[in-house]
């Protein structure tokens, strides 16, 4: 497949003929006339979600971190190091690997916004690292020394490398599923660990930061789910049994990788997160992601830690304005048409 032209005056593609990929766009972002309505709605939500890492108060985390047990500290550092990798990768992957092949302006729009958000997350990790560590290189360089971390990073990057080396239609579809796995599975043992600490009253600033990040990741997940579902309608012939088998295999490998990682970082030393819970939770997440794109569940297990969902449900939380950062707002969403 060819990368799309950024200016293509010879195209006479009509709005209804737009395609997720393999279309022939003019390069003009005509947003008053859109085909993928979900994409434009998602764009609005992403704008409403706007936040800035420096707004989150990390001062108490500085002293909290010193009080953590050694295992808690180690796990925190590793979680951070892994999240740093994934958001770094994703910022570049979206812009350099995925977006050049996507031929609908309304979807280009949200991919660019997503890339911006991933960059914003990189800044939040910088703020977090800065507040807990006097030697930030220790965390940023952890991937060179920690072979489990290196192994996970390598495995995640591999699918994207395949796409950039060989940009076929099949590989684009696979990359969409890979995104779903990244946004919907790989981030979660890290998030859950930070929430587990917060649940016992520790590192609350970090938990706020992660909540903001997760609020963004939810939109990213929906973005790729919708891309997959729209592609299914446009190009059903691409979803062959071979491809779907490969996708199931990707999910199985991801579950294995992420459970191993979760067990590795917690080392059985974190109150509230046993190895069994971690594994079952990751399996549960995989099933949810598969279900969202109309595929079969692989594990059929119960959600073992339902409190995590409540923890990340913003609208069920009431923040004391003097004591913590309020996460319940929607920027620029006031409707003034009736006024």
């Amino acid at each position: 497949m060819e990368r799309k032209k950024i200016y293509n005056p010879n195209s006479d593609e009509q709005t209804r003929d737009r395609k997720i990929f393999g279309g022939n766009p003019t390069g003009i972002f005509e947003l008053n006339d859109i085909k993928y309505q979900w994409a434009y709605n998602l764009w609005e939500v992403m704008l409403n979600n706007t936040w800035f890492p420096k707004e989150v108060d990390m001062t108490r985390d500085v002293s909290d971190y010193k009080q953590l047990t050694d295992s808690e500290k180690t796990a925190y550092d590793k979680v951070l190091a892994q999240l740093i990798f994934m958001d770094s990768l994703q910022t570049n992957n979206l812009i350099d690997n995925v977006n050049p092949f996507i031929t609908s302006p309304e979807i280009n729009l949200i991919l660019v916004r997503q890339a911006f958000e991933e960059a914003l997350h990189s800044q939040s990790y910088a703020v977090m690292v800065d507040s807990i560590s006097t030697n930030s290189a220790e965390i940023y360089e952890l991937w060179r020394r920690d072979m489990m971390l290196k192994h996970k990073n390598d495995a995640i990057a591999q699918v994207y490398d395949e796409l950039s080396d060989n940009p076929t239609e099949q590989n684009i579809v696979k990359a969409m599923f890979a995104n779903q796995i990244l946004e919907g599975i790989y981030f979660y043992s890290g998030f859950t660990y930070i929430y587990t600490l917060a649940r016992s009253g520790k590192m609350l600033g970090s938990a706020d930061m992660i909540r903001f990040i997760q609020r963004d990741e939810v939109t990213h997940l929906v973005l790729f789910q919708n891309m997959i579902n729209s592609t299914k309608k446009e190009r059903p012939e691409l979803f062959t049994k071979e491809l779907l088998d490969e996708v199931y295999e990707m999910f199985r490998n991801a579950v294995k990788l992420e459970s191993e990682w979760g067990k590795y970082i917690t080392g059985g030393q974190i109150l509230g997160l046993t190895n069994d819970i971690i594994e079952q939770y990751i399996q549960y997440l995989a099933d949810e992601r598969l279900k969202a794109v109309g595929m079969e569940k692989l594990y059929n297990v119960e959600h073992p830690i339902k409190w995590v969902d409540q923890f990340s449900k913003f609208n069920d939380q009431k923040a004391n304005f003097f004591e913590s950062k309020n996460t319940n707002y929607s920027l620029g969403s006031l409707d003034l048409d009736d006024f």
């Binding site: 939810v218 004391n320 004591e323 009736d338 006024f339």
Partner: protein, 239 residues
């Protein structure tokens, strides 16, 4: 503190006329006893320095300066509808004085209400179950005495017409000389310029001295995108 709990346990719907009558009675008592206590304190410790010439000294109490629109919200029988003997209290204040120049305000009590297990000040409940997020982390909270009997009477604040919160505030305001921490709750589907304007203009018309935070929501990604099809597919039949 605990207005919502009291209403739910008495099976009074938030914002109903029963609610309005009830809080009018309660606030009358609060006002009466607070003024009387301050006057007793004046006897014990002396009047506040600027008492002479003040409204108190002339027998003018908050209820005498209450907003006209607010007074129309509840009619307990005019002058004969009061529970307490205000004329006697006025005479007492004129002769004994007041210890406090300013006396009555309603505090938010969001943390302490949870500590003692009731609902926040004068507010409807945030939700039937929520997480209170403060310096100690996230604390799961359930509306006190939540049961099948009280369930329907615990209306979450976001589900109420916010103009009812303003009206309830106006009734309380008649009896007190300072403000009240009255929060406004707004869901995104209702967040419009007109509605917000109505809420705050009513607060002014009904003589509220203050409102507090405007609480809103995060956008719900699923709600915004679920079931939204591609336009090309919706229009297949008309093409």
């Amino acid at each position: 503190m605990g207005e919502a709990q009291m209403l739910a346990e008495s099976k009074i719907e938030w914002g109903s006329s029963d609610h309005f009558y009830k809080i009018d009675e309660i606030m009358e008592s609060v006002s009466y006893f607070a003024i009387r206590a301050s006057s007793d304190l004046a006897l014990e410790k002396g009047k506040y320095p600027y008492f002479e010439g003040s409204e108190w000294s002339k027998g003018v109490f908050p209820i005498d300066k209450a907003n006209e629109n607010a007074c129309k919200l509840v009619d307990r029988g005019g002058l004969f509808g009061y529970t307490h003997d205000w004329n006697a209290l006025k005479e007492k204040v004129k002769s004994d004085g007041m210890r406090n120049g300013y006396l009555m305000a309603i505090a938010p009590t969001s943390s302490i209400s949870i500590l003692i297990g009731t609902t926040q000040a004068i507010e409807p409940i945030y939700k039937r179950k929520w997480f209170e997020k403060n310096l100690s982390g996230m604390i799961p909270v359930i509306a006190p005495n939540l049961s099948p009997e009280t369930w329907a009477f615990y209306t979450p604040s976001f589900e109420l017409d916010q103009r009812l919160l303003i009206r309830a505030g106006a009734i309380r305001q008649k009896w007190i000389d300072q403000g009240q921490s009255l929060n406004i709750f707004i869901t995104l589907d209702k967040a419009s310029g007109k509605y917000l304007n109505d809420i705050y203009m009513e607060a002014w018309k009904f003589g509220l001295k203050s409102t507090y935070y405007l609480r809103s929501e995060s956008p719900d990604t699923a709600k915004q995108t679920e079931g939204v099809a591609d336009r090309s597919i919706e229009c297949l039949s008309c093409q």
